[in-house]
Point group: C3
Chain length 260, copies 3
């Protein structure tokens, strides 16, 4: 029953290179319900990776957008009425149309109403959830640990990507620990949100959610390392990571992947 | 009756240089109702060109802003309730005060309610409409062609700027085909929206809408070519096009214009 | 009774260096109610300075965010219903919890309803107000002058930071004239808004509002000068000022401060 650890260093670098190629040749549509701070950078990350992003929130038309998208991102970074309405509709349509979707429950550790809304969304079974340790603890009501994360993924049948110094991706059975990335990524807003968007992008071109999520985090982590080497601070870094993601290739992925 | 083809290469480059000079010396106010993804970049494009942008959407005050602006941009990229209300008021005031305005019916090919709203706006006769081939087809209900575009412009008495690999600008009688630009422009979000904002800017300093629209598209196209030469990917390109637009001059316009 | 002019060149440069160090080591939370155009750049300025920004506007949760923030920014750049509701709650909680807050009454000279709303906020005694000469005149109903600014600050017990070619900071008794900065700062959107956010950041780590506001304006002014020297136009400048703010130190502040 147990699937192998497909996440060896070489395997995952190869998977990421393959998915990047698919993104660039297929140009999937990714619809994003994301916070106002992150919208521009998220769109640019998706464009740099080869996707066609859309961002509308209007309840009259979001159904039409989601029905024709290849993946959906739901980010709770700004938790206004309009976005909650849009999310209800979008998640409903995504379920009907079998559109894979990612939940990024930003800052659920900072406000109880947001955590409650996030829990109702998780009950509707996103394909993947990407969050940090504090956000996990706030939602799970337990300490964040490797075991708790695997249990939560397994119990719900979803892939969880837990970000941190080392990212942990798990579907409850398989795990990948990805130690790529750079501290400068925490000095630019919306970097995590953009990572979640990249998870959605990979889900659009790969049915195995675990592989898609792990590949996406590897891509953004390696792109971040390359960008840090060519930038003088967070402003030039934010531009450089779009450049490095745009030109990222299997060679750099294989050479730099720190996966276990 | 027929006006000459003012759009010869040398003519249009000269017109663009003149309008750029006017923008920099007059600093016209440009009010933008645009989507949340595009607001920041649009404001920066307008500032780089010498304008003073404003972006408020509040129905209580948009009338005051539009009454005192030199041109108005209406972009449908995020089609929320607030923006539709703001648009109704803004277009009304623009008509009363003779403020030129540009419609950018983003993604009308993706959602019927948006197309319907765009049609009601076109009936109120924007000075110019900027859109791509799919958007034109969705609004016109016909195949997009040179003839259909000229006919739509002539019938409504508006200038249409149809973007594509070669942009076509027409007022129904005159046409300009502008083959400037760079593929990297499609890898940065809001580039088209910013082009529409530049059309609004040129309308603020030039009464001939055909000349204004063609000059604006030439400016952004040449700025894009120059930016591509000095950037390493879409992130550095997005910064570089603001730099090249800021320092664009008649020499570069004349040397690079591909107009027929 | 009279406090000394703490704002001599050396004093203020030293204060700014100290506050910058505090920001980087303490990482204060800064909650921002700011306009959609400025959100991303403001968040990046705060991150570059070492802070943790949050931006939510939802009336259900803004109370929880403000109760746990170290300072609050209220910027009126987009004056929509949601932001006004959020502002009412946020200012109430800030008062209860003794959270310092900054008001940036953007464009109050352009629309009467906005000026009226700004006046009700000033009556609730922000810790500091940052605005330009036209905005001051619109709110005060008088010509903008050094004396009128000092009188307004003294009468309300608030610190006023009046931006212009030379910035004037005053609490009614003390004054600092800061002649740093660069014209390119006016060619990038949200630069003033980001300056106000930096005032909020400094208030989070320094109780003397006059010193905090003056130090913040010195920081952004010097960062702007350094950025202008390494950029080719407004696009590269916007990235560079994040880089220079990130690496700003006491040496550069002392060498460049133009304070009297």
């Amino acid at each position: 029953m147990h699937q192998p650890q497909v996440s060896s260093r070489a395997d995952l670098a190869q998977t990421a290179a393959t998915l990047l190629e698919r993104l660039r040749t297929r140009g999937p549509r990714i619809h994003c319900i994301t916070n106002a701070v992150a919208q521009n950078f998220t769109a640019n990350v998706l464009l740099a990776a080869g996707c066609v992003p859309s961002m509308t929130l209007s309840s009259e038309e979001i159904g039409a957008f989601v029905a024709n998208t290849d993946a959906l991102l739901v980010n709770l970074g700004t938790f206004d009425r309009e976005r909650r309405e849009a999310t209800e509709i979008a998640v409903e349509i995504a379920g009907q149309e079998d559109v894979p979707w990612v939940l990024d429950p930003v800052f659920v550790d900072r406000a109880p109403p947001r955590a409650e809304f996030a829990r109702t969304l998780i009950a509707r079974l996103p394909t993947a959830v990407r969050l940090n340790r504090s956000e996990f603890a706030a939602l799970a009501g337990t300490e964040t640990s490797r075991e708790a994360t695997m249990a939560a993924a397994g119990a719900n049948g979803i892939t969880i990507a837990l970000s941190g110094e080392t990212d942990l991706v798990t579907d409850g059975k398989r795990t990948a620990d990805i130690a790529n990335g750079h501290p400068m990524m925490a000095r630019v807003t919306a970097m995590g949100c953009a990572g979640s968007a990249l998870v959605a992008a990979c889900l659009a071109v790969e049915d195995d959610a675990f592989c898609a999520a792990a590949a996406a985090l590897l891509m953004i982590g390696v792109a971040g390392e390359l960008a840090a080497e060519r930038s003088a601070g967070p402003g030039s870094f934010a531009a450089a990571i779009l450049d490095t993601l745009y030109s990222l290739d299997g060679h750099a992925l294989a050479a730099r992947a720190k996966v276990s």
